[in-house]
């Protein structure tokens, strides 16, 4: 691989630059640090042909991910399907709709495998032996699995009342799993303090600037899969708001590098009404994010004090997008709609994304005749509690042809 184009960590607020180290906040203003690149070093070298010649993983874009050399963790991760959603197009009355389906991301069925692969590869570079995270579930599973495969020790911190699928989906990898009596925001605060005391790589605390960059791979893939084109509209679920900002960054980078043309892509954010501080700020026309006490079945989005809320708000406004929120009932209805029309079982966050998109289409914020991409970021099998009561139960019969004939007749089957 050619020389790394990573220049420094740069404060998003005051612009102060720092060396590449496991650190995430500016010492001067507490602003978030972000990886800065010297893109001109890639001029003429990072081409569509080069990318297409590489294996179908997120690492085919490795020049734009902040590690040195080859990934040591999660080399197979990413490159999920982009599905043309013909059936949903009819239901929603839109012309061109795609699902970016990270509910089948390798290896733990959520887009978190992208960020963790970058964070843990970087942690190994830094010489860490133990990795950790604060999580609403998906991240815990991904850190646990990828750490196991990489031979790293791991500690994952989760709210104590998460869905069983997420608790089991982390615990099975032999991680140290800690349930905190409190909400995600409490877990997060504790982890900030633990990270300051123990010498671990917390993927979403002290190595967060590197971790967050992994989300860009979702955006790169969408553009390549659309035939090297940026979509007109992208709908993204928001918890901390990070994904929203990184999808935007991925598009700007591809434009800068001449890989796609500027299509004026608008970014839309989706939240559940029970935890919608970012959406509220957009609707209120302010950039002040007021923290809330989260209360929604979309637990993976239940971050009441969103770290990137301010930046997500800005990306949405500057790109010409909008933000929406829906009730928990609408979340479940949208999960079922996605499953029944496209055969994709998304977790609650996927219901939030589709449900908000529906609302945005109905209100005219999302035009019906331009390309729309919905980002589905996690798998429904991890949040079955949310839909269990609303799903058709099996009809129980004996192993008897006669009994089935009766049933079939009742169904009107000829």
């Amino acid at each position: 691989m050619s020389e790394s184009i990573v220049r420094a960590l740069k404060c998003r607020e005051c612009g102060q630059e720092y060396a590449i180290e496991p650190t995430h906040v500016c010492e001067f203003c507490f602003g978030p640090l972000e990886v800065a690149y010297d893109y001109e070093k890639l001029e003429g070298k990072f081409t569509r042909e080069l990318i297409e010649s590489r294996p179908q993983t997120m690492w085919r874009y490795k020049e734009l991910l902040p590690i040195d050399g080859e990934p040591t963790v999660g080399a197979q991760n990413g490159f999920t399907p982009l599905v043309r959603a013909k059936n949903l197009e009819k239901v929603l009355g839109v012309k061109e709709l795609y699902i970016k389906n990270d509910s089948v991301c390798y290896p733990t069925l959520s887009f978190k495998d992208r960020v963790v692969s970058v964070a843990l590869s970087k942690a190994v570079e830094f010489g860490f032996k133990t990795v950790a995270c604060a999580s609403t579930g998906n991240l815990a599973g991904s850190v646990a699995a990828n750490a196991a495969a990489a031979g790293l020790e791991s500690y994952v911190f989760i709210p104590h009342d998460l869905e069983q699928g997420k608790v089991l989906g982390a615990g099975v990898f032999g991680t140290n799993i800690i349930g905190i009596k409190g909400k995600y925001d409490d877990v997060n605060r504790l982890c900030s303090e633990v990270a300051g005391k123990y010498g671990w790589a917390f993927v979403n605390v002290n190595v967060r600037p590197f971790y967050a960059e992994g989300s860009k791979s979702l955006g790169y893939e969408v553009m390549e899969q659309l035939g090297w084109k940026a979509p007109k509209h992208v709908v993204v679920p928001m918890a901390s708001g990070s994904l929203c900002t990184k999808v935007d960054k991925s598009i700007k980078e591809f434009i800068k590098l001449g890989l796609v043309e500027d299509n004026g892509t608008a970014i839309y954010g989706a939240q559940a009404t029970g935890c919608s501080p970012i959406t509220k700020s957009v609707k209120d026309g302010t950039d002040m994010i007021h923290p809330v006490h989260a209360d929604t079945i979309a637990k993976s989005l239940a971050i009441g004090n969103p770290a990137d809320g301010y930046y997500a708000n800005r990306v949405i406004k500057e790109s010409g997008g909008w933000a929406e929120d829906i009730s928990d009932d609408e979340v479940v209805a949208a999960m079922k709609l996605l499953a029944e029309t496209e055969g994709i079982f998304a977790e609650t966050a996927g219901g939030v994304t589709l449900g908000c998109a529906q609302k945005l289409i109905e209100s005219g914020k999302l035009p019906r005749d331009e390309s729309i991409v919905l980002c589905i970021t996690g798998n429904g099998l991890k949040t079955i509690e949310a839909v269990a009561d609303r799903i058709t139960k099996p009809r129980i019969i004996n192993a008897s042809l006669k009994e089935f004939d009766v049933l079939a007749e009742a169904d009107g089957v000829k």
Partner: protein, 92 residues
């Protein structure tokens, strides 16, 4: 009233490496002023020019974000625990 204040890693250069300091104060605003008196430079890190707690700083009193309490006017009593935590962490 003596209040225990937990100091985050990025600010420990200003507290000679201490991760916890004891400060006398009756409310959060006073606490920040007295922190500044004991460890010069802390206030400008925590507050903007108008004296408001910065966007990316969370201050907790006994595990509750002061934004949910009375902000800088939040009263403190002997034995209260205050945590200063960078806001930037977590999430998707």
């Amino acid at each position: 009233m003596s209040i225990n204040v937990r100091i985050p890693t990025p600010l420990r250069k200003l507290t000679d490496g201490a991760d916890e300091v004891a400060i006398e104060a009756a409310n959060v605003g006073e606490l920040i002023d007295n922190l500044e008196a004991a460890h010069a430079g802390l206030k400008e890190r925590l507050c903007d020019e108008a004296g408001e707690i910065r966007r990316f700083v969370n201050v907790y009193v006994n595990d509750e974000d002061v934004r949910f309490l009375d902000g800088r006017k939040t009263t403190l009593k002997d034995g209260d625990e205050v945590s200063i935590v960078p806001a930037i962490a977590g999430g998707k």
